[in-house]
């Protein structure tokens, strides 16, 4: 087996070296979904065209995502004269300039440079920035670095070594290493992965199944997609190790159909791995067989729950089932089934390669290893961040992600998506790990983290999440089905200024009932956003109910815009053109007023009003807006 692997590694290295041996520059473009959304395809085209025009022979390689969404499209250029250089916001225009100035004339254009990928004496390195240096990458180690469509690149970087090691060990030994590493399921619940494998291995059965859960439905989290798109082989390797350890012969990757690129990448990776003998029959010449297929999830949030996911593969409505029996005892088609998250399985190769002690040395006692967060919302450098467990929220939000932009102040951070909670400033020194977050009232969930500044209304955020869970409730449990609907109705009323005394008490009581009366995680955690925001931001709820005022000026029924006539410039029409509903009229002295009846409160006029006038004012409650009458018929109209 090891000889076979050594041959494959040698071939892969030769293949990669041969590609890199010529001195031609290589241009790596991040072409995962987020890169493409930022225009990476256009950038690639511009590079191709410019290279042709200037007659430069350079190779373009499409890689995955580095996780630095704020700087997309990201491009790394490797030349013989410089260390690999990373450029940010590479628009087609910049691409053309880079080809001419850098590749042709040799000027590395520092103004577009994010940093060099390696430390050196010439140029600042990316490792000088906390956004890079404070991260610790285990799962995303190779994301954005290797070509996801080439198994050779993964092999040349030491890929599938963990599988080889696993196959040389007894099955129980593999499980023991994973158990001792303290790796916990990254899907949200944080169950000990080794324990789960042990349970599955202990069930006597001819056939067993391993399912990789990539049904990432949490709005605001996209790390699973990134891993699938950027380094699918690492996941497959972890899945194969798991299958070997528990004695499974069938693997299924359950991916959301809404992630077409991820589906394509994982399918391709499966085909490649099978062709080289890392999957299929007699893997690497041993007696271990594993067949892996892809199942497309059809978009139901509840299918992230393992029993619902299994129902959906069986062709039924994705409704959670009673546990026990747990899937490890009786899962897909009644077979013992291990369901693990993408990040869990992707961490397995590193655990095996470097050992349980190494993995345990990262993170905290109860939560070992690293966690991936998608930090989005009001932060300077949003994107995917992989940090050791136990890092504080303050470090993550302020040091790594650059803090709140536009000189606004921090208000809250929402962690764990619809099942998580909103934490205020006093929790910023909470370490992020499974247990501390639950203690604070939030949860790890899938790792979605939305940072909110002073302009966010907590009642509105709670309403948003309840609307989501209400929509996604499968309808099996009465409290989840009807209770969330009532929660939503009450929150709806409050945000519209129709809240009444006693609403908050009903919200609390109903939340507890939903939590106690639901079968699965969706229902049990659905009230979390309401409960935490009620606990930490009760004054905001009260302002909505008793003063009919939204302190953040976010809820549209409770706000109004008006134009300050003192500041408005005579004859300026900037706001008139931008208003989508023609609510802005010209007053008799050629200034502007807003027709409150027509205004939809989109805020476009605030943006359009030139900063030197800054005449549009937003107020809450709406009665604070002075009434400006439109000119009567016959009077002059500009």
């Amino acid at each position: 087996m090891t000889e076979r692997y050594a041959d494959l590694i040698r071939e892969a290295r030769e293949y990669v070296e041969q590609q890199d041996s010529d001195s031609a520059p290589v241009i790596y473009i991040g072409m995962a979904t987020c890169g493409l959304a930022a225009g990476a395809a256009e950038t690639r085209e511009a590079f191709e065209k410019a290279l042709e025009e200037h007659g430069i022979a350079a190779r373009i390689v499409a890689v995955g995502c580095l996780g630095h969404c704020y700087a997309e499209p990201l491009v790394v250029i490797r030349t013989p004269d410089y260390p690999p250089l990373c450029y940010y916001n590479v628009t087609p225009g910049r691409a053309r300039i880079l080809v001419k100035a850098f590749l042709e004339e040799g000027d590395p254009l520092q103004e577009f440079l994010l940093g060099a990928m390696e430390a050196n004496d010439l140029l600042p390195a990316v490792s000088d920035f906390p956004r890079f240096s404070m991260e610790q990458r285990v799962v995303m180690e190779r994301c954005g670095d290797i070509d996801p469509e080439s198994i050779h690149q993964y092999l040349a970087a030491g890929g599938y070594e963990a599988l080889v090691k696993a196959l040389s060990l007894p099955q129980q030994e593999v499980t023991r290493i994973v158990y001792e590493s303290g790796l916990r399921g990254r899907g949200g619940a944080g169950f000990l992965t080794g324990k789960k494998w042990e349970m599955a291995a202990g069930v006597p059965s001819e056939q067993k199944v391993v399912i990789c859960n990539a049904d990432e439905g949490d709005p605001g989290a996209y790390m699973d997609r990134t891993v699938l798109e950027s380094n699918p082989h690492q996941l497959l390797e972890g899945l194969a190790v798991c299958a070997y350890a528990v004695g499974a012969g069938e693997g299924i990757v359950y991916v959301r159909a809404e992630y077409p690129l991820a589906v394509r990448m994982i399918q391709r990776a499966i085909d490649e791995a099978r062709a080289l003998g890392f999957l299929g029959e007699h893997i690497l010449g041993t007696n271990f067989n594993l067949d892996v297929s892809v199942f497309l999830g059809s978009g139901a949030f509840v299918c992230g729950e393992e029993t619902a996911l299994i129902q959906s593969i069986e062709g039924k409505r994705g409704m959670p089932q009673h546990r026990p029996p747990y899937p490890v005892q009786k899962g897909l088609r009644g077979l013992p089934t291990v369901v693990d998250n993408v990040k869990t399985l992707s961490a397995v190769p590193a655990v095996l390669k470097r050992g349980a002690d190494w993995y345990r040395s990262i993170g905290t006692r109860g939560s070992t290893g690293t966690a991936i967060f998608s930090v989005v919302g009001d932060v300077l450098h949003p994107g995917l961040v992989e940090i050791p467990m136990g890092t504080t929220l303050r470090t993550l939000i302020f040091d790594i992600c650059g803090g709140i932009p536009n000189k606004k102040s921090f208000k809250a951070v929402q962690i764990g998506g619809p099942s998580g909670g909103c934490l205020p400033e006093k929790f910023l020194d909470t370490p992020v790990d499974f247990d501390s977050l639950v203690e604070a009232g939030a949860m790890m969930g899938s790792g979605g983290m939305v940072v909110m500044d002073e302009d966010s209304c907590m009642v509105d955020v709670a309403r948003y999440f309840v609307e989501f869970t209400q929509d996604e409730s499968c309808g099996k449990c009465t409290f989840c089905r009807i209770g969330t609907k009532h929660l939503l109705n009450i929150l709806d009323r409050i945000t519209k200024g129709e809240g009444k005394e006693g609403d908050l008490e009903i919200l609390e009581e109903l939340s507890m009932d939903i939590r106690n009366g639901s079968l699965c995680g969706l229902g049990k955690t659905a009230p979390n956003p309401v409960l935490t925001s009620l606990k930490y931001f009760r004054d905001e709820y009260e302002a909505h109910i008793f003063e009919k005022r939204c302190p953040a000026k976010k809820c549209r029924s409770l706000t109004a815009f008006y134009i300050d006539l003192e500041k408005c410039a005579r004859g300026c029409d900037a706001c008139v053109g931008c208003c989508p509903v023609e609510a802005i009229f010209t007053t008799s002295n050629r200034k502007k007023g807003i027709d409150q009846e027509k205004c939809v409160k989109c805020g476009e006029c605030v943006v359009a009003c030139p900063p030197e006038y800054d005449a549009v004012v937003k107020v809450s409650p709406p009665e604070l807006a002075p009434r400006i009458e439109p000119p009567r018929e016959g009077e002059s109209r500009a």
Binding site: C69, P219, A221, G299, G448, M452, P580, V600
Partner: protein, 183 residues
């Protein structure tokens, strides 16, 4: 009788699904993959087609509809030529995605989940396309439009209208030329 418009389309879909089903096994677990392949090709599931699938798998058509309507992916009405999907994930919501959705609704004169009468546009909301750093985001015919603003909504729709008018002009001019050359 020659069928026209939607009826012809559904008849064609029916024929095609008969062919597709002949290649598929009758396992219950095939249900979702079958529905997915039908929708991939025809972009929606017509009632007759679901009855066909039910017969094939030997389950009630109610059960097929029950499964199909459970999942967000499946649609039961033909979509517009241009599909607009407004992301209402958390980051997009915080950044005012609902205001953008309202602008689309107003501009197109339809509500979320509907298709314009001329079947040019359909509008839906989706929960997170995973481009949160670009919020608010809209998917317009599979292309991600980041940092949406109400004015951008107008620009996008106007772009499609200009393109459509240009095509109409060209096809008219083309017909004219043909006529001329026939003379």
């Amino acid at each position: 009788m020659v069928l026209e418009g939607p009826a012809a389309e559904e008849a064609a879909m029916f024929e095609d699904v008969v062919d597709l089903l002949s290649t598929r096994s009758k396992e219950r677990s095939e249900l979702i993959p079958i529905l997915q392949s039908i929708q991939r090709k025809h972009s929606y599931l017509a009632p007759d087609v679901m009855r066909l699938v039910a017969e094939h798998l030997d389950i009630s058509s109610g059960e097929v509809y029950g499964v199909a309507s459970f999942y967000n992916q499946f649609r039961f009405n033909p979509p517009g030529k241009h599909q607009i999907k407004m992301c209402l994930g958390t980051a997009c919501h915080v950044r005012g995605g609902d205001i953008i959705l309202e602008n689309f609704e107003r501009k197109l004169g339809i509500k979320e989940g509907e298709t314009t009468e001329d079947r040019e546009f359909s509008l839906e909301k989706v929960a997170c396309v995973g481009c949160c750093a670009l919020a608010p985001v809209a998917l317009v015919d599979e292309k991600v439009e980041g940092h949406m603003q109400p004015s951008k909504v107008e620009g996008l729709i106007m772009g499609f209208q200009i393109e459509r008018e240009r095509q109409e002009r060209e096809s008219k001019a083309g017909e004219g030329n043909e006529l001329a050359s026939n003379d």
